[in-house]
Amino acid sequence: MAEIQGGGDSQGKGGKKRAKKQSTRVDMTPLVDLAFLLLTFFVLTSTFSKPKVLRMIFPEKLEDNPNIKKPEVRDAVTILVSGDDRIFYYTGQISNATVITEIDYTKDGLRKLLKEKNFQLLSELQKLQVKLNEADEKDTAAVNQIDRDVKKLQKESKLVVLVKNDDKATYKNIIDVMDEFMITQVAKYFVTDDGFNAVEKKLVSQIPPKN
């Protein structure tokens, strides 16, 4: 380790008394100890990644405003989220003859389904994205126009997805579904307040669990 090297050579030689030559070296060990202690402390206590957030908008309660009618949805895709990580979907209005299909949370399940259903909007959005990449960043008018086009496309999107859950569904399930919406850029989706209705309950209970 580093230490003070005393200038011992000059002592006892000759009769002359010289001023002791002090070395300028300082023992730095404690300093290093301290520095590394602090370093370890900060490395262990600091949190680097700030948590991320997923934005969710819940509509105002319907009771507050009786003038708002519940939207009539005809060709919607309804996703039924249930316990044990099970998830189902059907298209259109529910009736006893509706076919409810079980899917899963993998990329070949829900994501593939949503990509297929949202194919039209996705391909249009991709074209715009290419346009945006080609556009000059300084050309704000063009960039804004693309932005408006994106919003217009989203507004005119025909795909509507409803999400219903029963009392066994976990928070993770719903966030996973929301995340899939973000990935597949579904523009119109709603998480409904009321759970499964009687027909849905009956049809879901008829589907045997996988494995």
């Binding site: 230490e3 309660k61 976990t170 990935i183």
Partner: protein, 225 residues
């Protein structure tokens, strides 16, 4: 044969570069790190692919697996004002010192009536009590407006709005730039296994207080190709 004499000298090493480096790293970590705020419960949120970071000012609602609700306000000034109004409404007596303690004590997860006895405890005991607390009480259906959570949210929303407007006005007066995005937003942090019904009931209380935009806190997940 004469022995080969090794020069006897204490091995000395110049440590200056190492110290330089060590202090550089210390400085870096000191400046970049933000400390984890004290949390009475550990909540593991689900992951998502979003890249949006949590806003600076939030009203954080934490929901654990069993459905207990903890609330926290990151803006200390707003937190103080809200507490003062709450204790006046619920007729809970707190000294100035206890109010100060409350502001530094992290998320709240108990009935307001329990606060005085809780704040009278020492810090170590407080952590244990906070851990075992039953959560901020909330209600559903027609009793929703009389529950404590509703009042906390409503008061916070109003006070944060006023605070935002005051900051805006004073910035304009002094001709300073003003960050319009720095307003209080409502963040929900729930555990993976929390039942969605529970989250929805809590969110319903907030919706009743006319909050409709929520930032759901999630962990980070890689974006798909």
């Amino acid at each position: 044969m004469p022995k080969v004499k090794m020069p006897r000298s204490t091995p000395s090493l110049d440590m200056t570069p190492m110290v330089d480096l060590a202090f550089l790293l210390v400085t870096f970590f000191m400046l970049t790190s933000s400390f984890r705020s004290p949390e009475p419960v550990f909540v593991d949120p689900p992951a998502s692919t979003t890249e949006k970071e949590i806003p600076k000012q939030v009203f954080l609602v934490t929901i654990d697996e069993t459905g207990r609700v903890f609330i926290d306000i990151t803006n200390a000034a707003v937190k103080e004002k809200v507490l003062r109004e709450m204790i006046a409404d619920y007729k809970v007596g707190l000294t100035e010192e206890e109010i100060k303690k409350f502001i530094g004590s992290g998320p709240l997860g108990m009935r307001l009536a329990e606060l005085p006895s809780f704040l009278a405890q020492e810090a170590e005991k407080r952590a244990k009590i906070a851990e075992a607390a039953a959560g901020v009480p909330y209600d559903t259906a027609n009793k929703i407006r009389s529950c404590e959570l509703y009042n906390w949210v409503l008061k916070s929303r109003v006070i944060a709005d006023n605070d935002f407007r005051m900051r805006e006005a004073s910035a304009q007066e002094k001709n300073q730039s003003f960050d319009k995005d720095n307003y209080m937003q409502f963040a929900v942090k729930a555990a993976k296994n929390t039942r969605y019904e529970t989250v929805k009931n809590v969110v319903d209380v907030l919706r009743e207080a006319r909050v409709s935009k929520f930032q759901m806190i999630t962990g980070l997940e890689a974006k798909p190709e």
